[in-house]
Amino acid sequence: MAGPEIKAPAYREFPTVPALQPDSMVGMNPYVANEKMNEAIGFPGKLVDNWEQVAIAKMGELLTKYRSLKVYLDSCVHCGSCTDKCHYFIGTGDPKNMPVARQDLMRNVYRRYFTPAGKMFPKLVGAQDMTKDVLDDWFRYYNQCSECRRCSVFCPYGIDTAEITMAAKEIMHAVGHGHKYVNEIIGKVHKIGNNLGLPGPALEDTLNGLEEDVKEDTGIDVKYPLDVQGAEVLLVTPSADFFAEPHIESLIGYGKVFHAAGISWTLSSKASEAGNFGMFIGSYDQLKKIAMRVREAALELGVKRIVVGECGHAWRVAYSFWNTLTGIGAGANDPFAIELQKQLDPNYKQPAHICEVTWDLIQAGRLKFDKEANDHRIITFHDSCNVARGSRMGDYAGGQFDIPRNIIKSVANKYHEMGVGTTHEKTFCCGGGGGLLTDELIDLRVKGALPRMEALKQVVDQHGVNFMATICAICKAQFTKVLPYYGFKMGLVGGVHQLVSSAIQLGNEQ
């Protein structure tokens, strides 16, 4: 890419609060979506004439619809707990990347139009009119939040900055000021079926190629089936798993697990995307529309189980929202939900994460491994934010931390944890989540990766770690890109099912 050379910030000797660098990221302006992209997904093509009124009206609507948003905007006491918890603040030093400052971008406008003090004495309470400068700051700094929710873990009031960011993005979309990267992708999901824009025939060709490769490697006919009517499992996975490295290695692993366990499964050309960027922009309508493809595919194919592949935010959407969005999940007793529940097998969790499936099979003794096949790897695990802080696995709190680690330890001998305070519920974002995985934000992405890279460097230096496993397509793509800036090889990142794939015995299927 042309432009100034991008450099990684220096590692900090001690993880102290960085010196402030006001406005250091003020030049980080993401591309605005063009008219065609906005209109294709139902938003105004460009900034509408009376956008200030539209924005305030939309904010009013969201404040009524989401009680949490109002509570978050009202309850902050500026205690400062969150300030140094954001990876983007740590990496950039820009004070507007402190979570509290990010919230204040909206809070100040909220005060002006929705609180008596702000209406009467705006200056006294720091209330701010909705102006073009404010909108520009919103577009800049709400697109420097990956909605990872690490700050909310440390907030004594539990304020979720991600929800404020999502509301800000929803307001910006309502006035015709969307982000190109995200809107282009949502358009492709509606038109073609996945974020990548991979049409059915190309998907089929790629899967056929995988079958050949696996046959060549193992001598076994492992199938990667597409649109198979009556299969037991529908696997929904991020389309990056069909396209990118190292993602595709995990896809190979999912297929081997189903093969070894003798479970019939299929992918769907209609639901060829697990990701749901509707969540990133806070749009319930988009969230629902994108999620409905999975319901429709499940009904059409007549599957008994729905399993989600290695994708962080997809699992948050599936685990936390599918139940009410699409009727996938237990409990609801409306006709819409019941239709699908009648079809799905109640003996299994619906939906299930691929890690839950694999771990259940391991516990049941249905999978066998040559752990030595992973002996060239010294492994650590990076918790992805949407799995760690937005969902759960298994049937107890913290299952989402244990299950992927249990799998790794079942398929490999050498494992080391990264430092306390950088994993589990306090995990650092990879620096590319929330719809920021785009080339024009590469400077931000490199800087935002700093705290994770520091934690990684420690285990690399102390234990010789050479493989960081993760279960998110964004994490995989982001690390592949930013690792070299920190002096690591891009191949240091990979999937949990990539490790499974290396060690699994295929000849012993039951």
Partner: protein, 110 residues
């Protein structure tokens, strides 16, 4: 943004990808490569031509694995890996090679 070449103006988007894929020709590929600081050799053209053929058939760039496999078959197994492709296209074979080949940018979590 636009590229001026051979007396005509060709439109590109903010990131330098061609807006109209039909505008592409070998001279334009040269200009696009120059903007990326890539000096095109026969090895680059092998990749570019494969990308374009695949795109014409499937309306999408090939998966990185499909590309490495095809290159490996054609040029020998020592070149059938993503490291070789990164040597040719340092910003990444998927995006940078697609840009020079006049294909749309692969989007999503890639």
């Amino acid at each position: 943004m636009a590229i001026e070449i051979n007396g005509k103006s060709v439109e590109t988007d903010e990131e330098g990808y061609l807006v109209n894929l039909a505008d592409w020709d070998e001279d334009i590929a040269g200009v696009l490569a120059q903007q990326e600081n890539v000096a095109l050799t026969d090895q680059h053209w092998e990749v570019i031509n494969f990308l374009r053929d695949y795109y014409n058939e499937f309306q999408i760039a090939p998966a990185v694995r499909v590309l490495t496999k095809a290159i490996g078959k054609k040029l020998g197994p020592e070149k059938g890996n993503s490291q070789y492709l990164y040597e040719l296209f340092p910003y990444g074979p998927a995006k940078q090679a697609c840009k020079i080949a006049g294909l749309p940018k692969p989007t999503g979590c890639v």
